[in-house]
């Protein structure tokens, strides 16, 4: 399906997402992807074309945390950006050091 200027639905989707993510640079985001490592929580640092640059705080794999990861927006299945309106994304902490018996 195309519109008058021959943009595909996917082009429109991509533009909207890029725009939305760029408006929210500096905010925290929660992302689910279909492929490994499935989940990211982190801060949006910026965009490189349609690739999201992410300062990753938490993923399902501890070894991947505390690093900058580039996530292609096509691989994002679900996302939520903490904008100040609505729920906050939890700050997840390994709690093993607490409550030592």
């Amino acid at each position: 399906m195309t519109n008058k200027v021959n943009k595909t639905v996917n082009d429109i989707k991509e533009e909207a997402l890029v725009l939305y993510f760029s408006k929210n640079i500096g905010r925290r985001v929660f992302i689910l992807t279909e492929a490994f490592p499935f989940m990211f929580i982190g801060k949006i640092k910026g965009l490189l074309g349609d690739i999201l640059i992410l300062d990753v705080q938490t993923t399902s794999v501890p070894a991947l945390e505390g690093k900058v990861w580039n996530v292609h927006i096509d691989s994002i299945d679900v996302f939520y950006i903490e904008t100040g309106i609505g729920a906050k994304i939890p700050h997840l902490k390994d709690n093993a050091e607490e409550d030592v018996t």
Partner: protein, 1214 residues
């Protein structure tokens, strides 16, 4: 490509260890090229094991045709029957089945078998010319082996020389594109005849009784009895006891059993094969984990896996040898069933870190054989004086017990220079030669002690006066003073945690003797762990090979460190020094590794906790859940309140199934739950008897739950069934099979993740008859409204305030259960079944074996014909489609006078602790896997649910609905598990795809019941559906009216009277499929030719169901095991395979389904349809894989596949 082998079956003396224990009547398959060499070597070495004498393992590549010229040099007909392969069943079956040509081979004759090896994997082969059990059988004497089929284009070499090989249990397998790997065949087998050096049966030197039966691998075993004798004689191991050094190479040198050698990081495949005849074993491999299906990344991660006879799987250790942490040293491999372990069923995986070129020696001077590095991996460094590599940096002394590890023991020693050279950068207690913990991982520390104290198991005062349990140090006083109830220790952590354990041995030096056990000096203990990552040399909590002895003496504390890399199921922990002596006293526990960020709360108070068998888990990003842990136990050595031992063995120290059963140190035997009217129908009712003392797991309606299932002790299989709650077999796979049942062996661990859809009491039970009778059951109680001592889950709606009081036990009969009409019928058809339960004699075969007191379910319209003998009794099999509501009206027509044992003791098959339990005239019908409200329609009277059983002349309607295409579901009575179920009160429900019609395969008319139907569905091809109900524990009479005391009555060649072994209670009874049993002994008496026993040319077709099909017809087998004993059975169909996970195209494909025990359900879609892809017509045997006491006793039948149209069998519409 055609690959050819010339195989000979020969008689051979099998020397099973270096102590000269041997089987003088052994048999083996051997390549022709090795035959003479083997014979010569064995002649020269009559009392030493010969390397070449191993079960034959040959190899081929996927897609090849394998031609085996098979020559028989034994004095009876033998053959080679291959699992997995496709072949012309008339020529290459290695058996003489039905109307096929005989493909066994007469003595000194030969045959050519031609096999299509379609897929990579293990093709187990064994003899079927002689299906007898016992010492005159062929399988127990060694006629077993394997064809290992590799990926296309592979080749294989000798790990020692690097040269190509034609056979061998070990090989390095190479491929032009894929990584090379070490391949080890680990073939368990059992029940072999063993003589000692003197030619007599081995005697246990402590009890002076005959030794336990043979349990070994690859024609070897290394029993504790033999090694301990060397201590007793003062040859080695001064001041040691025996069990703690059983696996210690410092004391004894290496065992005769398999040592799987490799370099750290090497990829490996262990082909685990059960070539034995009787027992279900548990393969456990220290340090390593693997996927239950190596092809499926969504499959479960395991580190202990049960295996039943004639089944197999491949263990591909994740991250290669030494696992993620690169742990060097000896990782023991063993059957975790302690009596088997002690009998010698163990070996080692030796992981070297320096190059072995043949120039090195072990500390005892024995040369280390060279080991070629895998060609595509960097060779390990050569050993040097400073860095000699494992095991030569360990400061042990040959002939003495292994040294204690450096650093870990509080107040202990530091590192020697050689140890420092071998250590990691920052050696610390518990992490010296491998560091499992990544930098920055949070640490959680637990202080744990092992103590001895008396523990009471039930309300009647059955108790273990010498229970031994793990406790947190902080709770020691409360547990010892009785303030806190003893329960198995379960500690909770999250993934990505370093776990530090300060373990203190607070046991007395001595485990005292009594009617069960001899006095044993259990002076040191350790804390052995599963699943987590650790340094095996110092942290195994064991004493294995050339490793350290990482245990501590009484009063000492040792620090261990592990890392939980990912969310794991419940990891098992226990002592590894004296488990055979004391694990059955309670020496087990578990750690649960939850998802990261989880908090653990007390379910009553909401306060944070670190341990507990029942907690609430709160997580910020996934749903909260209740976490429950169940430990099954057998060999529970209990005394009654007056101090009388319960079920003691014949002599102290015997491993012959002593004692009783427990679950979390409790039991609730059924014999104590008869109410005033003595009706077993209310046994599980809390109205009559109050709640059981066993765990009652609590939740609110709608809560998510995780049940962690483990087995703490000691030898037997158990079968957990949860009535009304089902889970995904593979947790991370939405396409996996739904289950309500799980088989478990000791040390296995399963997590059942599910939720509770409706309020009510759900029964969980280890549901083999003897387990249930002796009290292994409890409840999951889901409340509909708020209760004061249970916090709601934080992400669930808060339950409504309580509007009515909770029910109470008043000792009266339970009220009638509510009307099932309250559940609305959703859109979709309603299927009505009018079912009656009545007594009728059941004839099991044409030889007159029969059960005169059968109890069956049948459609009311069929009852008269059955009673009049016009219709033969069959188990009731009914069907419904997804979307259907099913209304079953059940009427009891049971008559008291037709029960055989009105005095209330059912004499045979028996259960331990027989007691008064009169037959109930009430009956019920409980289905698996489909949906219903437990309060009205679970077909049982449980907890504070109302009565759902029916008395004589009464009727009750159950309403079930089918929300998922679950296929085979068992159905059975829950009113009287002693007097109804093994007598026939079971059947099956099959949940079919929406829109399916069921027609008779011969008339093509619609049917409502039947084991053999054609399924017609507008969107699917027509499918032949064969329902097989595998059952045991049957009490049969012969045609003369004499009780048949199976299994021994069915043995073809009974041993001399003075050698008859006692049969475990759970092996008692006859067995078969669908109320039929074709006992081979009946046939043998008529025509005493062993290899003809399956032949229809000689005997006509068997009494068991004969299923017929045309070539390539789609066929689905629905296999259910509703009843009832604890011995698990393997199901095998010749010449066909199916996917283990039906809906997963990547699933492994096999020709067996193992571990069938009460409650198991299977849906087996034959790949390629009838006759498989190769389209071979003929008679295919379906049978048990248990040579010992199943096949002889009649557990077999035939699927007949026609190539030409038969008048009586209309072809399918395609």
């Amino acid at each position: 490509m055609i690959r050819k082998y010339h195989v000979v079956a020969i008689p051979i003396r099998l020397v099973l260890n270096s102590f000269g224990d041997h089987n003088p009547n052994g048999m083996m398959y051997v390549l022709k090229e090795n035959e003479q060499k083997v014979r010569d070597l064995v002649k020269k070495n009559p009392f030493s094991p010969v390397d070449l004498v191993r079960p034959l393992v040959i190899r081929a590549n996927e897609g090849e045709i394998v031609e085996i010229l098979f020559e028989n040099k034994l004095d009876f007909n033998t053959g080679m029957h291959f699992q997995q392969a496709e072949y012309d069943v008339c020529r290459s079956d290695g058996a003489n089945v039905g109307l096929n040509k005989d493909s066994t081979v007469a003595p000194f004759d030969s045959i050519l078998y031609r096999l299509h090896v379609v897929k990579e994997g293990t093709y187990f082969f064994s003899d079927l010319g002689n299906p007898a059990s016992g010492e005159k059988g062929s399988n127990s004497n060694g006629l077993i082996g394997a064809l290992l089929v590799e990926t296309r284009f592979s080749w294989w070499t000798d790990p020692e020389t690097g040269k190509t090989i034609n056979s061998g249990v070990y090989a390095d397998v190479h491929h032009p594109l894929l990584p090379s790997f070490r391949e080890y065949a680990w073939i368990f087998h059992d029940e072999m005849e063993v003589d000692d050096l003197t030619g007599n049966r081995p005697i246990n030197h402590l009890t002076n009784q005959e030794e336990a039966s043979f349990h070994g691998a690859n024609y070897r075993f290394e029993p504790i009895n033999r090694r301990q004798q060397l201590i007793a004689e003062g040859v080695v191991g001064p001041n040691t006891e025996g069990e703690e050094v059983h696996h210690d190479s410092w004391v004894f040198g290496d065992p005769s059993t398999p040592i799987l050698r490799g370099y750290v990081g090497d990829p490996a495949k262990i082909r685990v094969i059960h070539g034995g005849v009787k027992e279900t074993h548990v393969f456990h491999y220290h340090v390593h984990q693997w996927f239950s299906d190596p092809q499926d990344l969504n499959s479960e991660i395991l580190d202990a896996q049960a295996i039943s006879p004639q089944s197999h799987y491949t263990v591909e250790p994740l991250y290669g040898l030494g696992s993620l942490q690169g742990s060097i040293g000896d990782a023991i491999i063993h059957c975790h069933l302690y009596p088997h372990f002690a009998a010698g069923m163990w070996g080692l995986n030796r992981v070297f870190n320096t190059l072995q070129d043949g120039s090195q020696c072990y500390p005892n001077g024995v040369p280390i054989k060279s080991l070629q590095p895998l060609p595509d991996r960097k060779a390990p460094p050569k050993p040097t004086k400073e860095k000699p590599g494992y095991p030569n940096f360990i400061p042990g002394k040959v002939g003495y017990k292994a040294p204690r590890p450096p650093l870990g023991i509080k107040g202990g020693r530091g590192l020697t220079e050689l140890e420092r050279n071998a250590a990691v950068v920052n050696p610390r207690p518990g992490a010296v030669f491998a560091d499992p913990t990544p930098k920055g991982a949070p640490v959680r520390e637990f202080n744990i002690s092992l103590i001895e104290l008396p523990v009471t198991y039930n309300k009647q005062g059955w108790h273990d006066p010498k229970a031994r349990i793990f406790v947190l140090d902080e709770e020691l006083d409360d547990v010892c003073s009785g303030k806190k109830e003893p329960e198995p220790l379960v500690i909770h952590t999250t993934a990505h945690t370093a776990i530090r354990i300060n373990f203190t041995n607070k046991l007395p030096h001595i485990l005292d003797g009594d009617a069960f056990q001899l006095v044993t000096r259990t002076y040191e203990t350790g804390f052995h762990i599963h699943f987590v990552k650790f340094d095996v040399l110092v942290n195994d909590g064991a004493n294995v090979g050339w490793n350290y002895d990482s245990s501590v003496l009484p009063g000492e504390t040792i620090q261990y460190e592990y890392y939980a890399d990912v969310e794991l199921k419940a990891w098992f922990f226990h002592d590894h020094l004296f488990p055979n002596a004391h694990q059955q006293h309670g020496v087990f526990g578990s750690g649960v590794v939850h998802p990261r960020f989880t908090e653990f709360l007390d379910s009553a108070s909401g306060e944070k906790v670190t341990r507990g068998t029942q907690i609430t888990a709160r997580n910020p990003i996934i749903p909260d859940y209740r976490d429950y842990v169940l430990f099954a136990q057998d060999f529970a050595l209990l005394f009654d309140k007056d101090g009388k031992p319960l079920q003691p063995p014949n002599f102290p120290g015997s491993d012959d199934d002593p004692g009783l059963f427990g679950v979390n140190y409790k039991n609730e035997p059924l014999q104590f739950r008869l109410g005033p009217d003595c009706d077993p129908a209310y046994t599980f009712s809390s109205y009559v008897n109050g709640d059981p003392i066993t765990p009652i797991f609590r939740a609110y309606e709608g809560d998510s739950i995780r049940i962690r299932l483990l087995q703490g002790a000691q030898e037997e299989s158990h079968s957990l069934n949860v009535h009304g709650l089902r889970w995904q077999r593979q947790r991370s796979n939405l396409n996996t099979k739904l289950e309500e049942q799980q088989h478990i062996g000791i040390s296995e661990s399963f997590t059942m993740e599910t939720y509770i859809p409706r309020s009510g009491d759900y029964l969980w039970a280890f549901e083999t008859e003897e387990d249930l009778w002796n009290g292994l059951w409890g409840l999951i109680r889901a409340y509909d409204e708020l209760v004061p001592d249970l916090i709601p889950l934080s992400d669930r709606p808060i339950p409504l305030k309580r509007s009515r009081p909770l029910p109470e036990c008043k000792g009266n009969k339970p009220p009638q259960a509510g009307n099932p009409d309250k559940v609305l019928i959703e859109k979709g058809p309603v299927r009505y079944f009018d079912i009656v339960a009545f007594q009728v004699p059941i004839v099991y075969n044409d030889f007159g074996d029969h059960d005169p007191h059968g109890i069956i379910f049948a459609l009311r319209k069929d009852m008269d014909a059955i009673l009049e003998g016009k219709k033969k009794p069959e188990p009731l099999i009914i069907r419904g489609n997804v979307g259907d509501t099913v209304e079953v009206t059940l009427t009891s027509l049971l008559k008291k006078e037709l029960f055989p044992f009105k005095d209330g003791i059912y004499p045979y098959p028996e259960v331990k602790e027989q007691a008064f339990y009169p037959p109930s005239l009430r009956i019920s019908l409980h289905p698996q896997l489909i949906q219903y409200d437990v309060k009205t329609s679970s077909g049982e009277t449980v907890g504070f649910n109302g009565d759902q059983t029916v008395g004589p002349g009464e009727s009750r309607t159950y309403r079930w609905w089918i929300d998922s295409q679950v296929g085979a579901c068992g159905m059975w009575d829950m009113a009287d598990i002693r007097n109804h179920k093994s007598q026939g009160a079971f059947g099956a429900f099959i949940a079919e795809p929406r829109g399916t019609e069921y027609v008779d395969p011969y008339t093509l008319k619609p049917v409502k019941t039947g084991a053999n139907v054609v399924l017609r569905n507008p969107f699917l091809p027509d499918v032949r559906e064969f329902v097989m109900i595998l059952h045991d524990g049957v009490r049969l009479l012969d045609k003369g009216g004499k009780v048949i005391i199976d299994p021994l009555a069915g043995v073809l060649f009974p041993p001399p009277e003075d050698e008859v072994e006692e049969v475990d209670t759970y092996d008692q009874g006859s067995r078969g499929f669908n109320y039929r049993s074709e006992r081979l002994l009946n046939r043998y008496r008529k025509h005493p030719v062993l290899h003809d026993l399956f032949s229809s040319d000689v005997f006509g077709d068997p009494a068991t169901p004969l299923f017929e099909s045309y070539l390539s017809d789609p066929v689905t087998i629905r296999l259910v095991t509703p009843a009832e004993r604890r011995r698990s059975h393997t199901f095998h169909l010749h010449g066909h395979r199916w996917r283990f996970e039906l809906k997963n195209l990547n699933s492994r494909t096999e020709s067996f389904a193992g571990l069938n025990v009460a409650g198991t359900t299977r849906n087996l879609e034959l790949l390629g349809g009838a006759g498989a892809y190769g389209r071979f017509p003929g008679d295919y045997l379906y049978r048990s894989g248990n040579i010992n006491w199943d096949i002889e006793q009649g557990m077999w039948g035939i699927i007949r596949i026609h190539s030409e149209v038969q008048e009586h069998l209309p072809p399918l519409d395609q």
